[in-house]
Subunit: 343 residues, 2 copies
DNA sequence: CTGAAAGCGCTAACAT
DNA sequence: ATGTTAGCGCTTTCAG
């Protein structure tokens, strides 16, 4: 019993039909008489038959499998994205393979190669780096549809993403309206960093008639709360001292809030904090956090829909296109809620 | 260029060798002269060759793929488990397929069937239900090794899990030592519920010389903070009123803490709260949460090691065995830290 | 050192 | 209504 898997041939021998007939019967072909089909189904059941999808894939050269490459599933928004993507794919009859790049381009490259050799029908990618993406474009060009879940300026790939520029803009606009004149930004820097958020911040600052010095950027050493906590010391040591903070993730913001509490800094009276992502932690921390809603489920759904469209009905798809979802600001206690001048 | 994938045959034609020789060369066979190999590798590179793992799988009847079935990846401990499992598998040269059951046995059954038809070499499963697992055992018996990440009493399957009985025992022991005489337990009940935690609680209560009425169990309607919040109303309405709460997940505990804050209940002075899992939220909430450390990364590593062992060297594996990791209690502010009588 | 042939389990085209 | 044949891309004998 153990270890042996029934094949079509086994059912064929058990019933006296040919493997072909068995195949047709199992797929419910209408041109077989009811009785034949029933005898075959019964034998399949008895032999505990399970179709070999690998063999089928080889014939069809299509696997009904999609690869998902994330930077890090521990990031709560990516967790939600992974959940939604898996759910939508499964609903559509696709399996999902999963790999994490940990924001390393090299790992990303390996993951993509792995998926290609496994013949996935398409890939959804949260890119590891904002500048190096030739290998992603190459995969798409070679015939495996790729959809990005973060905008990559300069790439020619289909994209469904949150408009981070507008998200950061909304956060900074509120802070500026409240009279803040010196605002710190915590962002996981360099090429990995998200220039969109920076640009949104600059736009709001410009509109408020402030100079560039109103914005001061700090680079945390990671994206966990502990890194937000650590960065706050540097933030508060800078001159002139900022009166507000925009953190590029809720986790960083929560760490910053923690620092404020431990150091007797009253939020939002003495210091305002805005996060990004609207993850669960933003509601249940010591102080409800004002944050930008990252609609991970929405981009996931649209993204899955889009890539399946491209796989199953490529003729209906035109040139690659970029869809940006505008995020909403969720105002809670960690920032003032009044747009009027707070100081 | 687009859409065409080079095969061995293409390289063969390009170089004048046979497909067989090409195959040997690409796999670095030593019996080929250096020059032949180099010419073939160069052609492979030029044609942008990527091996077809599906075809190879069909020959080897092994896919180097492992299936992971989780109940819900949004559960932070399962997120960590998924991350660690993926990392360990990838290190060992395996790909991972992922599916979520949402604690539905029917979905679990479908996920397992999916994985079997995709010919995974093994499966790691967080079971959906504590009583219905015949379909899991069947898969294992039919030759696809299965490893459980939660103990299923009565099953005959390899298991690596946290000893929840001891975890709950440690939490209740602390509460009893602090003088609590009426303790509420929040657990996602019925068959899905975890009897181990209940038994651990009962053991501690017995050892403290208390009667069974010292423990009162409530069933939240989900496992998000909002459900913990909602359940607290019922907890505080019960007579006699409990002075402490053990929540079966940190999320529930955080929701309960939130309720305490909104209702002016001082924690831990008037009411003690202990969570379970030691997730990030337990450190960064309003009040640092006493909790039981769920070593998801540890069981994941051991689990991956074990199942690969069974796949690659079955002869070294004996009968199925159950490995239970003893969890530690992490004492923080939400409970008193003194073992002495607090009331 | 290299090639030819068979076959993994399945499906599709073509018989009968 | 059912069977036969060929072939998906690769690896594995077995010959030369």
């Amino acid at each position: 019993m153990a270890g042996y898997r029934a094949r079509l041939k086994d059912i064929a021998e058990a019933t006296g039909f040919s493997a072909n007939t068995v195949s047709l019967a199992l797929r419910g072909s209408p041109r077989l008489p009811k009785e034949t089909r029933e005898r075959i189904l019964e034998a399949a059941e008895r032999l505990n038959y399970s179709p070999n999808h690998i063999a089928r894939s080889l014939v069809h050269s299509t696997t009904r499998t999609i690869g998902l490459v994330l930077t890090d599933i521990m990031n709560p928004t990516l967790t939600l994205a992974a959940r939604t993507i898996e759910r939508e794919l499964s609903r559509a009859g696709y399996a999902m393979m999963f790999a994490a790049s940990d924001s390393s381009v090299e790992n990303e490259r390996l993951a993509i190669e792995l998926f290609l050799s496994y013949q996935v029908d398409g890939m959804l990618i949260y890119p590891a780096d904002h500048r190096e993406f030739g290998h992603i474009e190459a995969a798409d060009r070679a015939g495996t549809p790729v959809l990005l879940l973060v905008e990559l300026p300069g790439s020619s790939l289909d994209t469904v993403a949150i408009d981070d520029r507008i998200g950061a803009y909304k956060a900074f606009r509120l802070l500026c309206q409240q009279g803040h004149r010196r605002i710190a930004m915590l962002d996981g820097g360099r090429g990995l960093g998200n220039f969109d958020k920076m640009h949104g911040a600059q736009k709001a600052i410009g509109e408020a008639g402030l100079s560039d010095e109103a914005l001061i950027v700090f680079e945390p050493e990671g994206h966990a709360p502990v890194h937000g906590f650590a960065a706050m010391r540097r933030v508060m040591a800078s001159e002139p001292r900022p009166t507000a903070l925009f953190a590029s993730t809720d986790s960083l913001a929560v760490g910053a809030l923690h620092w404020c509490r431990e150091n007797g800094l009253a939020v939002p009276r003495d210091f305002a904090v805005i996060g990004y992502d609207n993850t669960e932690i933003s509601q249940y921390g010591a102080l409800p956090l004002t944050t930008v809603n990252y609609a991970a489920d929405e981009i996931s759904k649209i993204g899955v829909y889009r890539i399946l469209q491209r796989i199953e009905r490529p003729e209906t798809c035109g040139a690659p296109c970029v869809t940006l979802i505008e995020p909403e600001l969720v105002v809670r206690a960690s920032s003032g809620s009044e747009p009027g001048p707070a100081r």
